[in-house]
């Protein structure tokens, strides 16, 4: 059962496992889309994929190249306008899971995809910006984050809060009137972090096989809380790896 696999493959498989069959999942492009399609192709055939381009219930037979790939419209239960997907579907809390990436992530699961370094008007790195993420983070039942763990990304404070996690700690989301539950889990190439029920601080609860707590701490820009006994995740199964690689191979084909 221990095929060779990369850290990214482990991360993607671990993320896919977090998606429950029959739930509705708002999917961003890149790692979230790959993981969501892996879940649909394995344990969650009735996972409802929702893309911000207006595709509800997309069932792509290859990995989409973008959130507006034609295969999403061709296979969706319904294609609606972009205002409709945000207003009628995301905003009222109909979507169970928001699946997001991050350029920076902090202790409270706040996400930055806007600017890094310098200040807003004169940044060191200008990133793409918010897209659908702020409202996905606000309104989905829960948020699953998939992101590679390193000191550049895992920072004490994000340079810009593009999408709110738990803000500055417990109670912030409620005070702001947000209806979604916030980040339930963060899946990285090293392991899994979950918010502590009391402090909301991300806590290392799982490690991928062969990864140590020290490695995870060294890749985190704050004093990382660690669960008493972090669980070691199951490595990717042969089937998971095969399906994932087959999916990756479809990218760009038609």
């Amino acid at each position: 059962m221990t095929d060779q696999y990369t850290a990214d493959e482990m991360m993607t498989v671990a993320a896919a496992r977090q998606l429950r069959d029959g739930t509705a999942c708002f999917v961003g492009i890149g790692l979230p889309s790959t993981a969501a399609n892996l879940a649909r192709a394995t344990h969650a055939p009735n996972l409802v994929l929702i893309y911000e381009s207006g595709c509800l219930g997309a069932k792509p037979d290859r990995l989409p190249l973008s959130i507006g790939d034609g295969v999403l419209a061709d296979t969706a239960d319904a294609v609606v306008s972009v205002p409709e997907v945000f207003n009628y579907w995301l905003q009222p809390g109909r979507i169970d899971v928001g699946f997001l990436g991050a350029a920076q992530l902090d202790r409270y699961g706040n996400i930055n995809t806007t600017v890094i370094g310098g200040d807003y008007t004169d940044p060191k790195v200008r990133l793409p910006g918010a897209g659908g993420a702020p409202e996905i983070a606000a309104s989905c039942g829960e948020v699953v984050v998939i992101v590679r763990q390193n000191l550049r990304t895992f920072t004490e404070r994000v340079d810009f809060v593009t999408s709110l996690g738990y803000g500055t700690g417990p109670g912030d989301r409620q005070r702001l009137g947000l209806r979604g539950g916030g980040p339930r889990i963060v899946i990285t190439d090293l392991g899994i972090l979950e918010p502590h029920p009391d402090t909301c601080a991300l806590t290392l609860t799982h490690l991928h096989p062969g990864v140590t707590v020290e490695q995870a701490r060294a890749a985190t820009g704050w004093d990382l809380a660690v669960a008493d006994r972090p669980t070691t995740n199951e490595p990717p199964t042969t089937d998971e790896l095969a399906v994932l690689r087959a999916l990756e191979a479809t990218k760009g084909t038609r």
Binding site: I29, P83, G129
Partner: protein, 272 residues
């Protein structure tokens, strides 16, 4: 009734220096040909509006057409960052670019308000983020029934919206299908509109998932086959993904970019 024009005429008539211009399209049906014509005609000081500024906006920005960008996500979709956009923001090259930054939900609702003849829209949005700190066009509003505090954004009213569609008939009725994004709202929100189409036909045969814009709600239609390339037009073409990937290298360097623009955009003829 929309006038049928050539792309060059349409841009010359409808897109003016200093205008607020929205070229919309959500990964699908992006009006590249029209954007190239705007570059060829040398428009300046444009406020470019778009939810997802991508390669065509990278080109417009790199060519110096834009003074300001109103947007919610600026990237090379499925590939990465936009280097001309970055260079303008980080280094003011070829000129400074002011930003007004929103979320998708906010931008979509701003178009809806514009299309609806309302001065603003209400949404659950931006809450707890740093966007309102930098974007003055985000305010709060209280529900007059429950007192609940929500977010308000002002209507978008572009001087001109440009979109690409699959077909129009000779009366200028426009038909598009597949992912149609926010194009209807963007056209209806604008004072003027220009629609490029894959083909002008005698009759619009109904298609599942179609959005039809009546000709009397559109200013002008120009035939521009392949006008969405390298994006795609469902039932007509597929995305040229190699170009999206290649753009990363082309756009990274100012000279490479300018050379590419000279060869591929500035010296070629308008498509129609």
């Amino acid at each position: 009734m929309a006038k049928l024009v050539s792309l060059a005429e349409g841009v010359a008539d409808l897109v003016r220096d200093g205008d607020v211009v929205a070229l919309e399209g959500f990964t699908h049906l992006i009006p590249f040909a029209a954007g190239h014509e705007i570059i060829r005609q040398g428009r300046r000081d444009l406020t470019l509006v778009r939810m997802t500024p991508d390669i065509i906006y990278d080109q417009l920005i790199g060519a110096g057409c834009a003074r300001r960008l109103v947007f919610s996500w600026g990237g090379n979709p499925g590939v990465g960052s936009l280097h001309r956009f970055r260079d303008a923001v980080q280094n003011a090259w070829p000129r400074p670019l002011e930003l007004e930054e929103h979320s998708h939900a906010g931008m979509a609702n701003r178009y809806v308000a514009g299309a609806s003849g309302l001065p603003f829209a209400v949404l659950r949005g931006y809450t707890g983020t740093d966007l309102p700190r930098h974007t003055t066009n985000i305010r709060t509003i209280a529900c007059p029934f429950t007192g609940e505090v929500l977010t308000a954004v002002p209507a978008l009213r572009p001087d001109v919206t440009v979109v690409h569609a699959q077909r129009a008939d000779r009366a200028g009725n426009v038909q598009m299908w597949g992912i149609t994004g926010v194009q209807k709202e963007a056209v209806l929100a604008a004072r003027r509109s220009l629609v490029t189409v894959e083909e002008v036909v005698d009759e619009l045969v109904p298609v599942p998932g179609q959005v039809v814009l009546p000709g009397w709600a559109v200013t002008a239609v120009a035939e521009a086959p392949g006008g969405a390339h390298p994006s795609y037009a469902q039932s007509y073409s597929v995305r040229d993904n190699d170009f999206y990937v290649a753009w990363d290298a082309i756009s990274r360097d100012r000279d490479t970019f300018q050379d590419w623009m000279r060869r591929q955009v500035l010296t070629s003829e308008a498509m129609v």
